[in-house]
Each structure stands twice: as structure tokens, then as C-alpha cells.
Amino acid sequence: MRRYVKLYWQFFKTRLKVMMEYRVDFLIGVASVLLVQATSVMFVRIVFDHIDVLHGWTFHQLLFIYAIAMLGRSIEHIFFDNLWVLGMEYIRPGNFDRLLIRPVNPLFHLIADRVQQDGFGSLLVGLVVLFTSAPRLDISWGAAEVMLLLLMIASSAAIFLAVNLFFAAFSFWMVDSLPIMATVQGTSDFARYPMNIYGKGIRYVLTWLIPYGFTAYYPATLFMEGSGDRSIAAWSPAVAAASLTIAYLFWKRGLSSFSSTGN
């Protein structure tokens, strides 16, 4: 374990040097994701210019859900982004073999190979949105609440990671599963809105099949009165742990049946 921490630190330093080398690129990357998130907040603002409540939810309650989604996603985006290119940049060109002959866990190597600066954009917007919305909720923020919130954000990040890991592992059989990953990730947008506006089918899928509901909506309800979903919300960390385990086992399965595209 200590060896891996040290190794990650070495990888991380190299990545930082690359980032500092291309400063304009760094700024473009951060600005791009920042704008993506800012426009979605602006969209909610515009809608709430015309209405007071959305299915009983206020503007700030909705922003709070957004904040948890953005922060969870940003952690996953910054540290685990390389999973997206497993097929495109590793398996297809035969680069993955390079990872397999090294004396470290290939998943660790894959993840440590990239630190994605763009994620800082959503981290920034997420923090701003959190600090705007959290004080306006009907809750007094003490140390316990803050700890709970941090735990929920960590769970959110873990679920984003687990789902991506699971669907990235398909690349071992089909060379590149990027289209599947992109489609699945798209469904996470549903969890940014109060999930009681959807029908039973959508809620079931996002709770039990692809647990994106636990990346934003459920954890947020822990801090709000009267949604009726608080009993589910407390399960978020457990769901995160279970999803990570399942995803990792699936990854192992894929790895063992992987045969190189090389010659």
C-alpha cells in the first residue's frame, strides 16, 4: 500500500509538470468544464425566474443537488479520467500490453497515468454552488453535518467511478466500449433533478441497476425535510462500496479473458 502511495506521488508530479508546461491548455480545459457546469446552473436559474417551486423543490434545494453531483463528478474526473481512453489509447494500439508486464496492478497504472486538469472546472463551480445553496437550506451546519456531507460527496465520486470502471471493462472483449460508457454516463443527468418527478421505471433503473441516483439526489435528501427518500439516502456509502466491489470484480474478469490486439 505504501509503495502505491509513493508511486502515485511520482506519477502525479510528472503530470503536474506536463500541466505547467502547457498553461494555455490548462486554462482552456478548466474554462471549458467550468462553462459546461455554469451553463447548467444558469439554465436552472432561468427556469426559476418563471416559477417558484419545481414539484415542491425550491431553487436552492435544486442547486444543492447539483452541487453534490458536480463535486462527486469532479473528483472522479480529476483522478480517474483515464478509464475513458482504455480502449482508444491502450487496447486498440496495443499499449495495454506495456502495462501488463510491469510489476504493479494494471488498473492502478492506468489510473495513475493521467490527472485530468479539466475536472478542476467542475470542482470550482461545485464549490461555489455548494456555498451558495447550503446556508439557505433548513438545516444548521455543525461538524457532524459537514462530515456527513463529505462522506456523501465521496460516495458520489465512488459511484461515478464504479459505473465507469464497470463499463470500461467491456473494452477487454470489444476493444473499445467508449460509446457505451458515454451513453451510460448520460443517464447521470437524471439524478441532478428531484427523482420523484420521474416515473417508477426510471427511478428503479437509477436506484438498483445503474445507481446514479446515489450520486446526487439521494445524498442531497439527507439534508432536506419531507422528501420521503431519506431512508434510502443513508445507504449511499454502502451502495458505493458494493458498486466498487462489483465493478472491480468485473474488471478482473475482463482482464483475465483479455487477449492482446497486438501481433
Partner: protein
Amino acid sequence: MRKYWEMMKSQIKIDTTYSAWYWAGTVSMLLKMLLVYAFWHAVYENRASVNDMPLHAMITYVVLAMLLNNYVAGVGVQLAGQVRDGSVAIELMRPYNLLDKLVALDLGTKITGTIREGLPLLLIAYLFIGIDAPATWTALPLSIASAAMGVLIGTQLDLVLGVAAFWLHYIWGLHTLRSAFLLFFTGALAPVSMFPDWLRTASGFMPFQSMVYVPAAIYTGQLAGGDALTAILVQAGWLVFIYAAIRFSWKLAIRKVVIFGG
């Protein structure tokens, strides 16, 4: 003209061969439709109209805008990639205008997209989500003309990425920046008429609302009569301006190729 026609056809053949992204795109669009359907229904829960639009008009607008939003991007990323890896130098020696070639390929992709994704999705939206008929009998031809103009504007404007790639490395970042900006200012998320005053005024001075808001609003009748005609004229103006501006900046930019080539 004939060679560009052939290029467009070859692109249609390529697009129909690779199907993974097609299915991914279609499923994503269906999911998005479900999302906006649920979202706007929740918005209209206790009221008959928002911004003077009843629910069915809003749903119609949002679904059309979502479909039109698929056309706002183009081959800019491809061009930028060629600029970055240097293959643009060889492309420039070939007996065609590179920008016209890319536009032809892009239109090929957009034609395949319309036939196997746009129209089926429109049909599904019509059957299951319930979108309105055009506001008046003139609204249909006008909105189709306006949509065609919007598609051409998007195709041309996207080439900006290729020009920018002569100076900036990070194409993925530019691509994301472009998408976020367009998603908002084209009116793909919500009609521009819902924007606060200052933002609506600002949008009026930019070409982006020509790509989505104008055609969709003509269809739903928010832009009608003289306003609709004026909007289409403005679109034509933007198209000519963008076409000329891109060609001009491209001429300046490719001088750098000579320098790189040494």
C-alpha cells in the same frame, strides 16, 4: 462541385458502416427526451403557461431544439486534428479546397444523421411525447428553410476550431468549450425568449440563436409573420459573414504551415 458531391456520398457510406456510435447517439437522445419530458411536466405542474407558452408548445420547442442541436457542430475537430498532426500540409497540396471538402463530408454526415436518427426520433417524439403541428401553414416551410440555414451556419462556424488549432494545442478542451457555449446560447436548453432581458439582448447580437432558437421558434409560432422573415434574413447575413470571415482567417493561418515546413 462534382468532386465535393462524390466526397459527400463517400462520407455517407462510411457513416452507415460504423454503427456503435449511431446506437449510442440514438439511445442518448431518447434518454434526454425522457428527461426533458419529465422536467418540463414538473415545471408546469401548477400553472397553465410559462413565458406565455403552454406546456405542449414548450415540449414541442424543447424536442425540436434538442434535435436541431445535433447539427450545430461539424468537422472543426477533424480539421483541428489535421492541423495538429501536420497532415494538413499534404491536404493543402491536393487538388481541392480543404475547407470545401470538409464541409462536403460534414453535410454527408448530417444527411445520414437526419435520415436514420433525426427523422425516426421526430416520429417517436410525435407518437409518444406529443408534439404540436406547425403553428400556421406557412410556419412549416419557413422553419425548414430556417433550419437549413442554421445547419449551414453551424457547419461553417465549426471550422473556427481548425483555425484556432494553429495556435492552441488542446483540441478536446476547445471542443468542450464550444459545445457548452453553443448548448446555451443557441437556445437548445430553453427558448431564448425565456432569458432575462440583458441576456436576450446579448444573444440578439450573436449568430448562435440562428442555429436552434430561430427555426424552432418559427415552427412553434413564437416568431411569426414579419419577425420570422426578418430572422431568416439575419440568418442569411450571418451565413455570408461567417463564410467570408472563416475563409479569410484560414488564408492567414495556413501561412504558418510554410513556416513549420521550413
